[in-house]
Symmetry: C3
Subunit: 152 residues, 3 copies
């Protein structure tokens, strides 16, 4: 499974970095849950995140909004994703943690470290490919201003 | 061994990033050696590093000091570790080199590139898990001010 | 092949980061093509890159120039390379995409994010090792000033 997860995470990141956002919802199951929160909130067990979606349809809506708002195109992003740690695997669902860093390339050509954190995933196999039943994106920083712009 | 090393490095990084510092000494053998030095010093063959410990007990002491000093909690860290290159492997000991970058997330929410460098390891198998007989952390930068705060 | 690619990319990065630039041309085939360009130019299909070399001999010349100019030694670099995505593989040639980030460690000890982007490779097997028949380095940023200094 390790190799499959590695490939999965690389494809997920490439869809975002190459601005193929329309491909993004397909990494989730039909009722897949996507949440962005901060480490501080996660540690306190607070349920509400910065972003919350609990179906592929909501994710697709989100992409539509991003396209209309057109905010996204001003910058580019680059994910570098660490190696997945499989925390548990009962055969049906794997719980996996993976570190990430996302760089933002600004219009003036400068590059910032946009976000670091970990993915906390529930991964299932669906018709011979992996899908996210849940991805909690837990950002290390509590600064949230621009976090709303881009899928992480 | 490649897969095992990858998992090992991911767990090592997670222990630090998730502030489970007490788990850190167990990644080393009983007489394991941990050294932090700079690339410039390493190139000159200078033996003394910024940090030097030659047993698991010394590492545990170090964690205690960090907890008492309480310096560590002000920031958070995020390791992103590259792929291990096995330089040599005689069956008992593997010499492995791995690139890393550590980000520091400051209290104001900004993120710095805290350190980059390579791990130069001697890895052994002990009771079916990998342990470090030696980890030299060779930092690219010669700036050492804050390097003393955190295990790398 | 995934494991072999991972090892290959780790060795490529180490040759540069450890200032063994003379080893760099050997990662390419005799008529190997190396190109550095920007994402914007690549998207427009523009053929000319920031750097272009179409043989191992040209790469070796480039290393010689760098040694003579001596610019390179003022800084150090650190690559962190993501996981390779195999886009196509017909048995002879694999097309592979891999994210990278390169940090620059300046003389004053500070560390910048120097470049992010993706490698777009054509990889072949030659005498039991992988070689690049072509590596397009597609930088996310359009800032090109210092890009000319170092192999990416």
């Amino acid at each position: 499974m390790q190799n499959q997860l590695v490939q999965f995470n690389a494809e997920y990141a490439a869809a975002i970095d190459e601005d193929r956002l329309e491909d993004w919802p397909a990494f989730f199951t039909e009722q897949g849950c996507y949440r962005v929160t901060t480490k501080a909130n996660h540690a306190r067990g607070l349920p509400a995140g910065l972003i919350f979606a609990d179906s592929r349809a909501m994710l697709a809506d989100r992409v539509l909004s991003l396209r209309q708002a057109n905010v996204y195109e001003a910058q580019a992003y680059r994910h570098v994703v660490g190696l997945p740690r499989v925390l548990a695997n009962d055969g049906d669902v794997a719980r996996v943690s993976t570190s990430f860093v996302v760089f933002r390339i600004n219009r003036d050509g400068t590059t910032d470290t946009f976000a670091t954190g970990q993915y906390l995933d529930e991964v299932v196999q669906e018709s011979s490919q992996l899908r996210l039943r849940r991805r909690d994106v837990i950002c290390d920083s509590s600064r949230i201003d621009t976090l709303l712009a881009i899928p992480l």
